[in-house]
């Protein structure tokens, strides 16, 4: 199984974009920038709904109003973050695949957080129908919040142990 993953990683590293990002001093930071811009939009839109479900912050808009208003921007942010992340991965896929922080992030945390996120997005309506967000909604919000912060933590741990970004 790992052989297949490694072969895929080597293929990614040899794609034109993989070679380009790895070989240039400014393209790696640029790809990182794209990734971060997408993340800003993605995380802020997701965490805003989570915090609102938890009842943290202002109460001008309820969780449904926030969630529906943010829906398009939420997924626009995700696509941008994904494109940036894919470019970063392509540059040095084999190094990434060997890093524990990266494995944890990509195989465990991101799938879990994404599945949870989609579920929260679907359920927000039902949780908000009562005047106060139901207890299950609050907990779901808290869990998603913690999941995404752990994704960031794994990523930072990985960044700090990665040779390219730590020359």
């Amino acid at each position: 199984m790992y052989d297949v993953v490694l072969a895929g990683c080597r293929w990614l590293e040899n794609t034109p974009w993989g070679v380009a990002v790895r070989g240039s001093s400014w393209m790696y930071p640029l790809a990182l920038w794209v990734h971060f811009v997408g993340l800003s939009v993605w995380l802020a839109t997701s965490l805003a709904v989570d915090l609102r479900l938890m009842g943290v912050g202002s109460r001008q808009l309820n969780a449904v109003e926030l969630s529906t208003g943010l829906f398009a921007w939420n997924w626009i942010g995700f696509v941008i973050a994904f494109v940036g992340g894919f470019l970063l991965l392509s540059a040095e896929a084999t190094t990434y695949a060997a890093n524990t922080g990266f494995r944890l992030k990509l195989i465990v945390l991101i799938p879990a957080a994404l599945i949870w996120h989609v579920m929260v997005q679907k359920k927000t309506q039902a949780w908000t129908e009562t005047a106060r967000t139901s207890a299950i909604g609050r907990w779901a919000g808290l869990i998603e919040f913690v999941l995404w912060i752990s994704v960031v933590s794994a990523s930072v741990g990985f960044l700090l142990t990665n040779a390219v970004t730590r020359p």
């Binding site: 930071p29 920038w33 800003s40 939009v41 202002s58 990523s155 930072v156």
Partner: protein
């Protein structure tokens, strides 16, 4: 500290971009500008506060090297300008909301604000690449 800094930056930049796109009229059209601004304001400023605090602690570790690095100075300049744009928006939002159409100044400031905040992130990711710090 890095985790706090990254998370807080993403969160505050994201919430401000949402407000900016509302001013530009490409999101949240069915909510008034004031209610969107009211909803996002505390989150945004708490994000800015935690980003500034964690950023300062990260800076303190290698303060001399950072202060001497040109990219870092540019980053501070762009960040201060970006924060100023946020203050300007915060200050004018009520007035803009009362106007029947969004004033051109409002749209312009929103656009400048997006560019400045994205610029802040761009300079930040270039710092390790250009100076080896970070």
């Amino acid at each position: 500290m890095s985790v706090v800094h990254y998370s807080a930056v993403f969160f505050c930049v994201g919430t401000l971009i949402l407000l900016d796109v509302r001013i530009l009229g490409i999101a949240y059209r069915n909510q008034t500008l004031s209610s969107v601004a009211e909803q996002l304001r505390p989150w945004f400023w708490i994000g800015v506060g935690s980003a500034a605090l964690s950023g300062f602690l990260l800076f303190a570790v290698e303060a001399g090297d950072y202060a001497a690095a040109t990219p870092f100075r540019i980053k501070m300049l762009v960040t201060v300008l970006a924060a100023a744009s946020a203050l300007a928006i915060d200050w004018r939002v009520q007035t803009w909301d009362r106007a029947s159409t969004m004033p051109v100044t409002a749209r312009l400031i929103a656009l400048i604000s997006i560019v400045l905040w994205l610029g802040t992130i761009l300079v930040s990711v270039e710092i390790p690449a250009l100076t080896g710090l970070g």
